[in-house]
Subunit: 324 residues, 2 copies
């Protein structure tokens, strides 16, 4: 019954059904029966899309910029997928409606597919879900996939690292917080956008960015470019979109890029699998509960307890001696 349903969805997916794409993403995200069959089957069709990450502090206008870039590129004939990562939703367990609402104008475009995503309380869960959704959009035939995220926290960092190109959105007048984000994110941004550039202080942000880039770029390359936009009016966005596609495709062609992407995917999958086995086995056996009780009585400590519990597994990995 389930197998039939999955077959039907894959059939519709291959025939370009957006509904099937959405349903398959949900099925894979929730690890429902057949999810791995789906991912294995679509895998040969992946690796073609350009994946762009858009990051920056809350309130910088990332959603609007994503929206307008998507519209510009869709207008030029590109099929677009958007994955909006909602940083607040880990707490509530689902992406906020707000994001979807803000995305509304884009949603109406025929060749733009939007998906909001949130973490689910599993470490590595976000990057896994986002990666799977991107693979599905990629295999579906989308040309450009944009991942929009606030870009803080380890999980979101993994998402950003899995892209071909990173756009960092800054905004004037956010004081300390923007300064902090700028200082930390320099290393991975390929393009800087100063959004809301009609506001006072925009040129100062550009100047700050320039001097920071000069400080950091010791190579003889030109360093990341800085663009000024007013995304709500669409001002300056086309140039950003054009440059992002050009530079992203260059990055993508580096031999290392695909290798790193696949290596990360394998590691993420393996981590997730082994962690879920471990947790399942522990709660099944009551081992964890017993360990907790011993630690609470101070008969042992968490470090010794974990050493004991993992001793048999350690043997599997350590054919030779290994440090803790």
């Amino acid at each position: 019954m389930n197998a039939d349903l999955v077959e039907k969805l894959l059939y519709d997916f291959n025939n370009g059904s957006i509904t099937a794409l959405g349903k398959l993403i949900t099925r894979v995200e929730n690890r429902q029966p057949g999810w791995m069959k789906i991912m294995k089957q679509i895998f040969p069709c992946t690796g073609n899309a350009l994946i762009i990450g858009i990051t920056g502090p809350p309130g910088a206008g990332k959603s609007t910029l994503t929206n307008v870039i998507a519209s510009e590129l869709a207008g030029k004939g590109y099929g677009i997928g958007i994955i909006a990562v909602d940083p607040t939703s880990p707490f509530s367990g689902g992406a906020l409606l707000g994001d979807r609402l803000r995305m509304a104008p884009t949603l109406e475009l025929e060749n733009v597919f939007v998906r909001s995503m949130a973490t689910r309380g599993v470490l590595g869960g976000l990057s896994r879900s986002v990666g799977d959704a991107a693979s599905l959009m990629d295999a579906f035939g989308k040309d450009v996939i944009i991942m929009e995220t606030v870009g803080v926290g380890q999980d979101e960092i993994e998402v950003i690292h899995a892209t071909d190109l990173v756009i960092l959105v800054c905004v004037p007048g956010m004081g300390d917080s923007i300064q902090a984000i700028k200082a930390g994110i320099m290393e991975i941004a390929d393009i800087f956008v100063v959004n809301k550039a009609d506001r006072e202080g925009a040129d100062q942000v550009v100047a700050d960015l320039k001097s920071m880039i000069e400080m950091q770029c010791h190579t003889d390359g030109p360093g990341p470019e800085i663009f000024k936009t007013v995304a709500v009016r669409g001002d300056g966005v086309f140039r950003v979109a054009e440059h992002a596609v050009k530079l992203g495709n260059q990055n993508k062609q580096h031999a290392d890029a695909a290798k790193r992407r696949i290596s990360n995917q394998i590691k993420t999958l393996a981590r997730q699998k082994i962690n879920s086995w471990m947790e399942a086995s522990w709660s099944h056996n009551g081992d964890l509960e017993m360990a907790v009780r011993r630690v609470m009585k101070k008969e042992s400590d968490p470090y010794s307890v974990v050493e004991e519990m993992l001793a048999p597994v350690k043997g599997m990995f350590t054919k030779e001696k290994q440090h803790d």
Copy 2:
């Protein structure tokens, strides 16, 4: 040589040397030789400190509030530890100087110990480091440990979940972004603080919070309290500090709290250990590289490759299950 150094540090630590505390935190954070000995040895002295999490969006004044709460409590004779989680530093690999600078006034207080922390590119690395630092401060004799974090991303969520009490700091006039964070964070906040309450719109934020609390709290308890502060002037902060200590101690005495904390700690340690073994073994054997090559040639896919690589380990976990 190393063993002697660790012994000496532990000796000084037990005699109240702040320098030794700082050095031990660094040693454990970097997993330098002797780290596990240190953690095992101090473990029996942990479990006494009250752990408070302070979270909220960038620019809400978390650092200032943390600072003033620390000063207030230090003034009443409490020994305080502060762990400032820097959300931007994952990129640069170290906590920003900025945080330390902003903390300067507190640093001068004798019984306040401040530590900035950042993730290190390892999933779960932040919560592990923060947890270990808190244990060391706890064993050192600190009465209250405050963890300050932006609270987005899975790693930071883990940090927040490991506290006895959560203070959410809001601020007027941040528009959309604050609304989003409020909506998501409701479930875990014990106390709400509207900081910069001398600004226009403060009462509106309080009213919004009130109606959201009413919507969410179906229990007959009173629900989380809301406080207004102007942290830079110290206004209203004492009441927050007082209430936090009272309520935090109540939470801490719940039988479940310690159990959950230890259970999380064991899980985190186990995850970290098994993941590091796995990665070490793969890069050592060249298994990962070979798998990546096969996937790149489309001879296999990441899902099948991971299944194959983990097949022997899966047996370890499923064998245990069959014993029942």
